[in-house]
């Protein structure tokens, strides 16, 4: 299998008055062609920032402080904004939580889709329209000719997210980054959208990075999963393995805290809450909530290493 995306030692910081906060700390992972990866974590874990920094879309005062993002034989972290624009929305597409981040409320779906095609492909307007209709069919939107003439507000939430997916597909990207694509939707609609994404990744041989807080969704859609905590990946491995046999104490706590994992009437809770970026403890970021925490955990930052079970985890106390 050939590698599609190779993120190495990515570090993203946010400039403050006279210091900088580290939002993403030394994150490395690879994604093969057609592979689906889940980036899981709680709010503030740095999962969205990681996703945005892949396509160099970190908004000020954030900046990529270190590391590289290899894609198509180029390091995206070093590309100029002009060159990056050719990659973004073309070879890599993005799907956001709120469809209205992508859709312009005052333009018809057709105008927006045709514009996107014309920006990246050297085709006539009629051909662009044909491409747009083809993609709308792929996301199961009936009578696309009519739909192209409609405005975003004429669609329901689930339909809008389908249209956003169709727009993401327009340029036949090799990778889709989906940031909480179904968080704003109801469970029944979420299931439909996830179904659709899964099917499209398979038929179009697309890579997918699914950024979400929902381990259940990740376990159903992705092959690999990276669990993030306070800006770092704490566990990385095959989704099945991580979900059925989590290694890192944080992942274990997270899975055990789900209501379906509870044995008695009480849920298993992780004490405390994730530190904010300015207050990450010295050593392992999880040390103040961890039951295994010992000497080294309070002095040295653990590195992501392959553990006995086969997954990678960043923990001093694991073999």
């Amino acid at each position: 299998m050939d590698t599609l995306l190779d993120v190495r030692n990515l570090t993203v910081k946010f400039a403050l008055r006279d210091s900088a906060l580290t939002a993403v700390n030394n994150v490395s992972f690879t994604l093969n062609r057609g592979e689906r990866l889940g980036l899981v974590g709680e709010s503030g874990a740095g999962k969205s920032v990681t996703g945005f920094s892949i396509i160099n879309l970190v908004s000020k005062p954030g900046f990529i402080a270190d590391g590289s993002v290899w894609f198509d034989g180029r390091d995206l972290a070093t590309l100029s904004q002009e060159e990056m624009r050719k990659v973004r929305g073309n070879r890599i597409s993005m799907i956001f939580q709120d469809p209205m981040m992508t859709l312009n409320p005052v333009l018809t779906i057709g105008t927006q889709m045709v514009e996107t095609v014309l920006a990246h492909r050297n085709v006539s307007k009629a051909e662009a329209e044909a491409i747009a209709m083809d993609k709308l069919r792929k996301v199961y939107i009936n009578s696309p000719e009519k739909r192209l003439k409609q405005y975003p507000h004429e669609f329901s939430g689930g339909m809008r997210q389908r249209i956003v997916i169709a727009i993401a597909l327009l340029t036949d990207p090799a990778l889709i980054i989906a940031d909480e694509p179904t968080t704003a939707l109801d469970v029944t609609i979420q299931a439909e959208i996830m179904d659709l994404l899964l099917e499209l990744c398979r038929t179009e041989d697309m890579g997918l990075i699914l950024i979400t807080h929902d381990l259940g969704v990740v376990s159903q859609v992705t092959q690999k999963v990276a669990v993030m905590y306070a800006g770092s990946i704490v566990e990385l491995g095959e989704t099945e393995q991580v979900c059925s046999n989590p290694q890192h104490p944080y992942t274990r706590g997270l899975i055990a805290a789900l209501p379906e994992a509870a044995t008695g009437s009480r849920l298993n809770q992780i004490p405390g809450s994730m530190p904010n970026l300015a207050e990450i403890p010295v050593g392992c970021a999880f040390n103040n909530r961890c039951e295994l925490g010992k000497g080294a955990c309070f002095t040295t930052v653990p590195q992501l290493e392959r553990k006995q079970s086969g997954v990678f985890a960043a923990c001093h106390e694991l073999e």
């Binding site: 979420q190 805290a257 789900l258 298993n268």
Partner: protein
């Protein structure tokens, strides 16, 4: 059951008129000026009993009227029709002083921990306000004592009373919100999606807290949520709402083991769970708007088992042998 329920909700209907002023309502159609009124049918003819000490959850998707139902029960909205009885006494028509005893007995916890605490008030002020209002006979020391006790109980150090809400994390704010509901020593709490804005590891903490408090104080919960796995864990009984209409009401075990209504089945199959395959019942179409309710059964447009009767006749909630209450022609006829 025989016992008087703590709370008895009888045929409650809540409509919102969203047609605006008189001028906005007028429209020109067919050569005549007509007056159009648009009404949101948020809750339609819902009846429920809540027993003392139990947790009754109301689940459904966005727009199904579950939050509206919660607000009608607590008295934030007057019902358009129907009655609400608390310990056998009718509540919904009481106002002002007559309502006061109910206000100390029933309190509410809200969804958004960032919007539910007044950002300009200190935690102490937020917690003192209900006590000072309802129990003016208490001295300053007694009030402070009460607040410290409740803060302690919800896991917020009383030393932090002088802080403002923005100095706390989401989970801590939700604890403060729960503390505000508890300072009046209520017996009934309406919790409107109390954990849906929180992270997974914090959700567990808050849920455990709510269950501990229930045990210590013998509280009765009306728990509103869209998260079925949470509901399964904490509820004694569950009511499923679709477009403001009650589809199914059953004990938690019964509902999750043996769902009867086609909508309940679809909803349960769509929960993403770790280690379970991805097999969900596909529903066709979208949720209709509550402004123009479908004829017949509200679910017929998306139901895989709908027939002509479902399209024309509104199904009545019936109690099955298992004790579940289901409003479905298919179940009644034995087709499903």
């Amino acid at each position: 059951m025989g016992k008087t329920p703590l709370l008895h909700i009888q045929n409650v209907v809540k409509h919102f008129d969203i047609s605006g002023g008189l001028l906005d309502q007028l429209a020109f159609s067919g050569g005549k000026i007509v007056r159009n009124r648009s009404v949101v049918h948020a809750v339609n003819n819902v009846s429920l009993d809540i027993m003392e000490g139990e947790t009754l959850s109301v689940v459904g998707e966005s727009g199904c009227g579950k939050s509206t139902l919660a607000r009608v029960v607590i008295g934030l909205y007057p019902p358009t029709a129907g009655e609400i009885h608390y310990r056998g006494q009718r509540m919904d028509n009481l106002q002002g002083t007559a309502r006061r005893p109910f206000r100390t007995k029933a309190q509410m916890v809200f969804q958004d921990p960032y919007a539910s605490l007044n950002p300009r008030m200190r935690v102490r002020q937020i917690l003192e306000e209900p006590v000072r209002f309802h129990k003016p006979e208490l001295s300053g020391d007694q009030v402070r004592e009460k607040i410290a006790e409740v803060m302690d109980q919800v896991g917020i150090n009383p030393v932090w009373a002088e802080r403002y809400p923005h100095e706390f994390s989401g989970g801590q704010r939700q604890r403060i919100s729960i503390a505000r509901a508890l300072v009046l020593d209520p017996e009934f709490i309406v919790a409107d999606e109390p954990i849906s804005a929180l992270d997974v590891s914090i959700q567990a903490q808050v849920l455990n807290l709510m269950m501990d408090l229930q045990e210590q104080r013998n509280l009765t919960y009306l728990f509103i949520s869209h998260d079925l796995s949470v509901v399964e864990h904490i509820s004694d009984r569950v009511a499923v709402l679709y477009l403001g209409t009650l589809c199914e009401l059953a004990t938690s075990e019964e509902l999750f083991e043996n769902p009867r209504h086609p909508y309940t089945k679809a909803l349960l199959s769509a929960i993403p769970r770790i280690g379970k395959g991805f097999q969900h019942i596909k529903l066709s179409g979208d949720v209709p708007t509550p402004i123009k309710l479908p004829t017949g059964c509200v679910f017929h447009g998306r139901c895989p088992n709908a027939n002509d009767r479902c399209r024309q006749e509104v199904p009545v909630a019936r109690t099955l042998e298992s004790g579940s209450v289901v409003a479905c022609h298919g179940v009644e006829e034995g087709r499903i």
